[in-house]
Symmetry: C2
Subunit: 335 residues, 2 copies
């Protein structure tokens, strides 16, 4: 019997049960009595979830990411760790890789360690096939789950999202209104986040009756050489492009090198836009324009939301932050 | 009373006490009897250290790094986490920042969590002033301490080192023998690792009776813009250089951009060498030559050494790995 069962039996939300356990005044006497009656009836003792509320807590949060050496995820870990420490929480880190089974094992590992909450970094934990997300929904029955830049709708799961859809839609539209027509979109997989980006790109292209071309670039983690090789394979698809939009900065670096080798002038002949605004955008020459999804804000908001959950506050299940286009030298959009 | 006191009282090493606790056959009957007598006398029960030997263990290792968003440290975390998981260990991660007091607090936090061992990433935990290293030596009295690319000589502390000294010495010598004379060395602090690098540089310059010039470039984490501004301040010192060697790749990226802006031909007018061979060396144009200190090997060796310590095996207190110069487009050394 866990907090999830209590909430079902009492006919109230998990958050309400949390508030009762935590002694929050923000619950009606009637509801409180109902919840306490169920708790007494089933002999429920606050478990890992209750520990998250400050009762006999381990004060640890489990963080799952696919690969901590990815600059985007590394940055997220760094911010999350610092923010959590402010509240006296330490982190258990699991780098799961990209395989579903490995992710499930890591999750079980963290649950066995009785962490007070789980934070998933990045949308590659959320699968298109909903049954592959059941393992996350299951664990949310006992402890709060936070997902950074991934959406999963279920009780006790909180999504902190960048508005990738609007950011890419706006950028595509801006290129078109600036006179570009042959815009292609390169991506390396179809995570939740990238699906939103592609949706934004295709929407803008459709609105202007332009042909949308998305190209999958497959490469192992961070290998710019492989990106360049892949680009050779799809040369026919991209050789006439006047804008190449990329789902991440690594692809954009590869495209930039490729375009320079082909003798193209940047941004006159072709404009290149990355996504994530990571450190490497400053290392290239010319420096890369990129969409900043404000990861630091997302991470900070993730931690403050989690603390709200621990306190039994009413917190939103979904927070969406705007992304910002940071223009450097590879695009020439009007200010 | 801890394992350290036992070893003192029995007149044997901590490793020997470990072997006795662990039931290793690799101890003489006489020594074993002596240790067991002391253990019985003082009523010692295996503590956190013994847990590290597989007795009632939490199976967790604490990892300390200054900043997990630094690409070098992020890479180390990723490799360590993967390797430790193979042995069933999970990691507690603390990002301590660069302040001594914060480092000490993080360390205490991990010790309170009863981790089985500690791994320090990077030489910025080892201070020149030995009394500022006492906090690490103290904790090594109860649990094994591993230091990646930092040296601290004390029982139960294991250092896994890159041979930065020789790598920089060899590189400097190679530049000189290839006809270069005005070689400067840029660095951003004086950690143990960087002191070794500078020592190697100065030794080679001295051997050829050339003037050594080291320049301190102060910048906040990963700000290439700041590196470039700093270079303007020290322009007089570096304007005539025909080789600029850098203690890390971020400085080298800044130098590369600076040199291009000044209209210098690379590597004809000036050769540029980074250190760490991190991901960003591939993002620049031309691509950066860099000294690879084989971090992945260091991390793997760190974990296997730690498992040896847990098993009560005899393991070296210090392992030194060679570094390798990876030549790309910013240097023109003969093959």
């Amino acid at each position: 019997m866990n907090i999830y069962d209590i909430s079902k039996k009492a006919g109230v939300s998990i958050a309400t049960v949390s508030r009762v356990i935590n002694g929050s005044s923000n619950v009606s006497e009637k509801t409180k009595a109902k919840v306490l009656a169920v708790i007494e009836e089933v002999g429920y003792t606050p478990n890992a979830f209750a520990r998250g509320l400050g009762l006999n807590t381990m004060q640890t949060v489990g963080i799952l990411c696919a690969d901590s050496s990815d600059p985007y995820m590394a940055n997220a870990i760094s911010v999350l760790e610092k923010e959590l420490r402010v509240y006296g929480y330490n982190i258990f880190l699991c780098c799961t890789g990209y395989d579903l089974e490995a992710k499930q094992q890591s999750l079980q590992f963290l649950v066995n360690k009785q962490v007070d909450a789980l934070i998933f970094i990045g949308s590659n934990f959320i699968n298109e096939d909903q049954k592959d997300n059941e393992y996350i929904k299951n664990v949310a029955k006992s402890i709060p789950v936070m997902i950074i830049n991934g959406l999963l709708s279920s009780e006790n799961i909180y999504s902190i999202l960048a508005d990738d859809y609007t950011a890419v839609y706006d950028a595509t539209k801006a290129f078109i209104e600036n006179g570009r027509k042959r815009i292609v979109y390169l991506h390396n997989n179809l995570t939740y986040s990238i699906r939103q980006k592609i949706r934004g790109y295709e929407k803008a292209m459709n609105e202007y009756s332009l042909a949308a071309h998305t190209v999958l670039i497959e490469y192992t983690q961070k290998s710019i050489k492989e990106v360049k090789e892949q680009l050779l394979n799809v040369h026919e698809l991209i050789k006439d492009a006047d804008v190449i939009m990329c789902a991440n900065d690594t692809i954009a670096v590869g495209v930039l090198k490729y375009a320079k080798e082909k003798g193209l002038r940047i941004p006159t002949d072709v404009e290149i836009l990355g996504h994530n605004n990571s450190y490497i955008t400053l290392c290239t020459d010319p420096e890369l324009s990129s969409i900043d999804n404000q990861l630091e804000e997302l991470c900070k908001s993730c931690v403050s939301t989690l603390m709200g959950v621990f306190n039994g506050d009413t917190v939103p299940l979904r927070l969406v932050f705007p992304s910002v286009l940071v223009q450097r030298q590879t695009t020439s959009l009007p200010k």
